[in-house]
Amino acid sequence: MASLIGSYSLFFGLGCSLLVVFFSLKDLKNLNNLDNKILSLTFLQFLLVVLSFFGLIISFVNSDFSNLTVFNHSHTTKPLFYKISGTWGNHEGSLLLWLLVLTLFIFLFLIRSKKEPKKYRILTILFQQIIIIGFFIFLIKTSNPFDYIYPVPKEGLGLNPILQDPALAFHPPILYLGYVGTSIIFSSVLAASVSNYITKEWAKHIKQWVIISWIFLSLGILLGSIWAYYELGWGGFWFWDPVENISLMPWLALTTLLHCILVLEKKSILTSWVIILSIATFTLSMSGTFLVRSGILNSVHTFANDPERGLFILIFLFTLIFLSLFVFFFFHKTDKKNTTSFFLLSKETSILVNNWFMMYFLAVVLIGTIYPIFLDVISSQKISVGPPFYHKLIIPFLIPFLLMMAIGPKLNWIKSELQNKFYLASFFVISLFLSFMIIRMLEISILINTVLFASAFYLFFITLRDFFIKGFKNLAQNIAHFGFSLLILSILFNNFLSTEIITNLKVGETYQSNKLTINFEKIEKKKMQNFEAIIGKFNIKNESDYIEILKPELRIYNQPNIVTSEADIKTNLFSDKFMTMNLVQNQEYFNIRYQKKPFMIWIWFSVLIISFGGLFSLLKKRYES
């Protein structure tokens, strides 16, 4: 029943799209206020998709196995929480969620843009509806979440256990809010080019959408990273895996756009560049979906793929790209009068340098992700591009980038002089000295590390000082930049100070090294709702005789029948202690991996600070108006 309602809602939702397009085209000639029918229909469409989404959730909660999606991804013994989150833990449901956010955002856009010119608003609706219609057809045709099977099976196939996790329940919706937010930026920029409205006012209006998408995208990536850290059992948080890269690329483009919009808002220059960036951001989000769904990537995160779907998204993607190129070349006129020139040492230049480096990072990630696929297709040679590649190409460029992040915000528009050169230089000397001492202490040898540490410390100290000196001026920016320096520092310390012990132990045995002993005390068995847990109890004694107890688990899920290993993590401000155990085949031994990972929590925390910088600038704007 719920499935049926959901299924019909989708068709009616698609119908709404067609009506909205019809009324918008009709309304385009009319110069008065926006036709109220458009607003009501957009709202109705949103409600219909909500209804459809709830239909799917209810089917999941009731374990209605006549629904193919529910049958493939659920099981009666699954806890309620994961029955619900299972709704978007699969391809069909996640696309429905995507559609839900699309329709929600265009409705929000309509009610939040009442002050904007009418033609621009209608055109935005039209462009957004093209995307929405594309997604409706994609959903109904290739991945309908309401397909049914007969005879009705008694039991479902279950959800992949590694997806049964709280972080992964929230990760997709939040990431999608970010991804789909870029669709509004895309539609809006096309509409603004057509109606010749790429101005300071437009920049001010679209900036909030850029920031909102940026916050959600940052948080979405953060949740994904946290999940990978504790669920995949190897204690890393970023592996430069293709799927991770794919979420990073729109983030890089969006961050660039965020900085670029600041210039447009103040100076009305760089209009073409803003258009290109907006188009690129959305295209990257879409191609991300394409690459993940089509299954051409080899990744830990691939969980649903089908070539037919890939082909559809590819065609759709190219349609959108051609559409946007058409709009860009035929409608966008660069306003020659308005170009103001500026001096080399100015805020404009520093933001351009930011854009320049960000685009380089984007190019590295893009080429590193795409090139192996490309090479495989043209010459069927397989190569892997992993962390060493990205480190080699990114880290050297990170150094000037960090220094620019510290100095850039201090410059004025058009013309600027560096004041207080003395303290800028002395901070640098202090940072260099400090990092040199640290490098000596850690006994790592490479010169580049010293400079990298120094530049991260430099940004850290400069931003820290600005909190006290500048107070509320540029606070949002300062928070975000401070967060970034903290992120780089935590990653560096985490990377250099992590220690790891891998050994095989059986119950009762003790591993001994000169720094600590690991005692495998016992194992317990526990029966849970949809899995059986084998819990190991380990006593870890360090040099100062302090004993810590860690209890990693093995979980044997009933459906699908998969064994997963759950890490036990003890977190404090300074370090994480991370332990996993795995079965060694046909033996009574367990493979134990114990890691001490310093400053782990600071990595998460600094991403939160960065996102909070964005949130703060939104709040401040509201407060000011």
């Binding site: 190897w234 830990v300 230049t349 351009l352 190019a363 397989k382 040199f436 040898s445 490479i446 010169l447």
Partner: protein, 121 residues
């Protein structure tokens, strides 16, 4: 600026002394750069599959035999192909991969400094 230059020189000198430091964890360093062929996007070091476990043993054995890091990569590359190495070596196939981003960086810089009307003081 002079002070900074001087400091950099001092640091370089100090680092030369340290650069001969011994590689303690060379085995884990090597296995982190190897793809676990039977897994979905995990390194040999991070995986507990049988393939990864046996490969870890192979690497340790080769280190004991006195092979250098580079020789081990070459050995495995011949045996399993380029797919196993996470750090693609520079050759005809990967020329674009390594240099295209750098080229784009240069082009980007050229565009910025050519097209913008930068006033000179």
């Amino acid at each position: 600026m002079k002070i900074i230059n001087l400091l950099i020189i001092i640091i370089i000198l100090f680092n030369f002394n340290l650069s001969n430091a011994k590689d303690i964890n060379s085995s884990s360093k090597i296995t982190k750069n190897l793809r676990c062929l039977v897994c979905q996007g995990q390194s040999v070091h991070d995986s507990d599959s049988e393939f990864a476990i046996s490969l870890k043993l192979v690497v340790e054995k080769k280190i004991d035999e006195g092979m250098s890091e580079k020789e081990i990569y070459e050995f495995l590359q011949i045996k399993y192909g380029d797919w196993i190495l996470y750090d693609p070596e520079l050759n005809q196939k990967t020329f674009i991969l390594w240099f295209l981003p750098l080229l784009l960086f240069l082009i980007g810089g050229a565009i910025i400094f050519k097209n913008l009307k930068i006033k000179k003081n």
